[in-house]
Amino acid sequence: MTSRGVNSKSLPPVAVLGMGAVTPIGRELPTIAKRLSEPIEPAPLLRVSDDLLADPTVSRGLRRADRFVRMAAIAALDAWTQAQIACAGVAIDRVGLIVTSGLGPHGRGFKFLDGILDCGDSSALPTDFSHSVHGVAASYIAGLLDLRGPSLSTTDFECGFEQAVLLAQCWLDQGTCSRVLLGAVEELGEVLIRCASRLLPDNPPFALGEGAVFLTLGPSDAPGIAHLDATASAEDVGLLILDEPSFFPQSAPPPAGRHTATFTPHFGHTASNSAFQSLGALLSLSAGRPLGRLIHSPSQPSPQSSFDNAATFRTLCDRSASLLLTLG
């Protein structure tokens, strides 16, 4: 079959209009930025504090929700609220929603299996089943914010966030939506925690983490904090952000001429790592200096070595996906 083929041209970047996050180092963006500028004590697991998930403004809407949904919904709400001015007048059916997660709500999934094993196949709780599907977070977010545009949940263990940004670029460029609320959420469930030491190599260079990061996106001419592009080749940028390169043999070594940083020690490693790296990069660019753990600082100034207004995310998967983030 053919497709309509109406728009054969390169995609423009999208504007970041708002951001929200629930992370092991906080929920308020200034708090997260401050913590990113401080060293962090090594820990095997970096979990989100339950205190961050008890938001009275959404307690009724989230009364059946578990940690997975709460992390996503609160981060999405914050990203949407921060973009309120930039989204004024946008019809609710013109707002798209994309939620990506590698492991999904596996904690609730195992709870449903507890029900099957303890009570029998026909007596497990239906709410555990309905909350065990990947789309549960998107459903709650759409309900809380009354978003009636396209709603998509995706799963990927490597590049889910980059692929979601790419689709958001398509949706905004093709006129499918006027705004896209896009985010990633990962939960550290009990089963994963117990099995982690046997799943990971000896002495992994990172802690496992959890949390949610959401961005409100608009077309490139919308008034935003930064621009995001999943199609750019992203050469000659001031800040290169990597995951922990020592664990990933396929990653390129940090280039000598530019700042190279990682946020994994602060957020922990998740299947949606790029979302958290994006958050760290956005906060770094807003602060005007690299936050997180600096892997490399150029000693010899060069045209490319100053910390300018662009950050590249090198995603550590075989497809070498990358995101280009530019201020303003």
Binding site: M1, F112, A124, H134, C170, R194, R319
Partner: protein
């Protein structure tokens, strides 16, 4: 991979050159979840259960697996929008091609029967132990099925380069969220109405030009009532539609892919089978599906999907040759 191979053969594609950008958009539900009961039983019983199930799961992302097996480079996305996943995958793939992100896209969905899903739908009270009866007065719930439905999309430019004149086109796609309930559709089907309207608008046609609709038609009380209302409202009382779930069961993430393929087949063959399971019109549904083998003529047909989470999607297929 059997469905992918079949679809590629149908498209006349034996392999891809290194320059060809090939996207993979795959919908699923069961394959995205770590619902492995033997593993979890062992986990509850012993300290160090075998982790094979987790390792397999971590290497079984559907779109990644298909792309890796085909050794292709291009965008990949595994869509987990519950029962609309397959249809949404086709919409994503069409969007990629329209944006010139790939030359060819493999799209659709696959799912397997699973004890967990069976228990889940049973727990929700929407599973029927009798053969399902979509849109029928006495419908009592869905039956589960399994399978895979895949379509191959390509850009006009790629088709021209290989001298191919394709007979069908994704002429429109629409998707919209009810923002109403986690497991039930909006009673008036507002999201489905918006999705169908968007697909028609993208295809630049009116409802009268749609020869038939392959409806979602799960045979649950809520789905069929909401969907029937929308079909009547948009397409009128004489709308020609069927549900194929009487033949396949509800294949969840595969349903949209399978039913898109059935929609193409209906247009190609010029006839539709009876909407299996339907006997008696329902008082709460203002339209009725076709009862027997029915000849159809027309250029356009549509496949609709509704899903957990309030997702609604519609893909408009056009016969162009």
């Amino acid at each position: 991979m059997l469905a992918v191979s079949q679809a590629l053969a149908e498209a006349g594609i034996e392999g891809f050159s290194a320059e060809t950008r090939v996207g993979v958009a795959a919908g699923t539900t069961v394959a995205s979840q770590l619902n492995n009961i033997p593993f979890y039983e062992a986990y509850r019983r012993i300290d160090n259960p075998p982790l094979d199930a987790i390792h397999d799961y971590l290497h079984a992302n559907l779109a990644q697996a298909v792309g890796d097996l085909l050794h292709v480079a291009g965008p990949r996305m595994t869509i987990v929008n519950a029962c609309s996943s397959g249809t949404d995958a086709i919409g994503v793939a069409a969007s990629w091609i329209d944006a010139d992100l790939c030359d060819v896209a493999i799209a659709g969905g696959g799912d397997e029967l699973n004890r967990v899903a069976l228990a889940g739908f049973w727990s929700l009270g929407v599973y029927s132990s009798e053969p399902c009866a979509p849109f029928d007065r006495d419908r009592a719930g869905l039956n589960l099925g399994e399978g895979a439905g895949i379509v191959v999309l390509e850009s006009d430019a790629h088709a021209r380069r290989r001298g191919r004149k394709n007979a069908f086109q994704v002429a429109g796609f629409g998707t919209a969220c009810d923002a109403h309930h986690l497991t039930a559709p909006h009673p008036d089907g507002r999201g489905l109405h918006a999705a169908i309207s968007a697909a028609l608008a993208q295809g630049q046609i009116g409802p009268a030009e749609v020869a038939f609709i392959n409806a979602h038609g799960t045979a649950t009380a809520d789905n069929d009532r909401a969907e029937g209302k929308v079909l009547a409202r948009i397409f009128g009382p004489d709308v020609r539609f069927l549900s194929t779930k009487g033949y396949t069961g509800h294949t969840l993430g595969a349903a949209g892919g399978l039913e898109a393929a059935f929609t193409v087949l209906g247009l190609r063959e010029g006839w539709l089978p009876a909407s299996m399971g339907f006997e008696n019109p329902a008082d709460d549904i203002p339209v009725a599906p076709i009862r027997g083998r029915t000849a159809i003529a027309g250029e356009y047909a549509m496949s609709t999907s509704l899903a957990f989470g309030g997702n609604n999607s519609a893909v408009l297929i056009r016969r162009i040759a």
